[in-house]
Symmetry: none
Subunit: 134 residues, 4 copies
């Protein structure tokens, strides 16, 4: 992860947010879960600094899109109660992989918060697609 | 609990992880819930420091394998909402008892995170069996 | 405060960092102390997410440049022990005022961390001068 | 950083602790500040899980031995009040560098707690010397 790429991903997420008519925050973290960049659009909730970062961190820490977590973290799910451990367990966080197949590893994550979950996911995926095309 | 035994338990958990093809973190805590040893395998998630420790702590704090907690902590369960209090309420944590029968007490716990829940439980039980045979 | 202005301030801070040969993190917060933007340059310390945000927050919270705080927060000073309350009490944070004279209020803050204190202050002031010229 | 090397460093720190007659905890973190290994000797304080990890993290986050921090973080120092931001600002944490000269970066850190500061520093340096000779 580096700042230039983080900003390009953020730009893609914000463009998607404009298309969605949503006001969001976008966080990008590195493989250690430490923040690289953050942007909160005008009018976006002040929960963004917590939730967008939390989603980005969680997607790296658990190596999954956070959109997979509601089912896993729900009552009866494999990771029931995960949210209580400080992870953000709903959609909008996407891990970024070093490559494909053998030896791939998570080298960062993006998290979006402020819209509906569907909007947040769309924005995070727009960011991740910049990563995939890097 | 002492460090030598904690390391032997950890070794057993890691061996099981190799057999399972999982990359895990293993934490051992004492009867106060305080960390005695921790090891994160190469390639294991950075959630390991949080979740393996959390499982070990939780197993001591509630004197149960954390695999029993999903049912108890679920909505309508006896400990509903427990996860929100910072306990890790899914499998992979196992308490370690001083002995059997009357007067037994929990003197430590082991927590494993990084594989599937089934794998984490298998690794934690491999560690606990070293304890049982001490 | 808004994102566009925060990014222009950040750009000014980063340009100053390049001139200084420093690798820094730059945080901008709004009047509520909540993060608006953050950027960590390649090679900047992972303390940046904590310290740059902390300086920006502290400058808003206390309505002073954080460079004034070492004297105030020192033993025997007017705000002795302030650092222990979670504020970052050394240079690199600058509050942003709505205007001059009567009725002025703090509407945001910028925090820079990663260089020497002198460098951090120079970068934060470069950002603040964009604000002043808005 | 990897587990095998972390364990060799830990062993060196513990050997030094035996020589010093000290009971310590030893933590090793990676470049993201996330825990790789931890060992607490029998009889070592329960502050070890907090302080040894804190020193290791701080040495990575600030890219300095934590033994340099008392002067910097003291009243009148450049980083006065740093401790209040959650960093551990006394000796026993040592950053581990990727190499020497241009392009070197911090890729991990070791932290020791439980003895006197002098003992903790000696143990951390014993660990770091294993890293230097890797």
């Amino acid at each position: 992860m580096n700042l230039e790429l983080a900003l390009r991903m953020t730009e893609a997420a914000l463009k998607q947010a404009f298309r969605e008519g949503a006001a969001v925050s976008v966080a990008v973290v590195d493989e250690g879960g430490n923040l690289v960049s953050f942007q909160r659009m005008e009018g976006a909730e002040i929960s963004g600094p917590v939730l967008a970062q939390g989603k980005a961190y969680t997607s790296v820490a658990l190596r999954r899109p956070t959109s997979e977590l509601p089912a896993l973290a729900a009552q009866g799910g494999e990771l029931a109660g995960l949210a209580g451990a400080g992870f953000v367990c709903f959609g909008g966080g996407v891990p970024l992989w070093s490559g494909y197949g053998e030896g791939e590893r998570v080298v960062g994550g993006v998290g979006v918060s402020g819209g509906t979950i569907t909007q947040d996911v769309a924005c995070a995926e727009a960011a991740a697609s910049v990563w995939g095309a890097r």
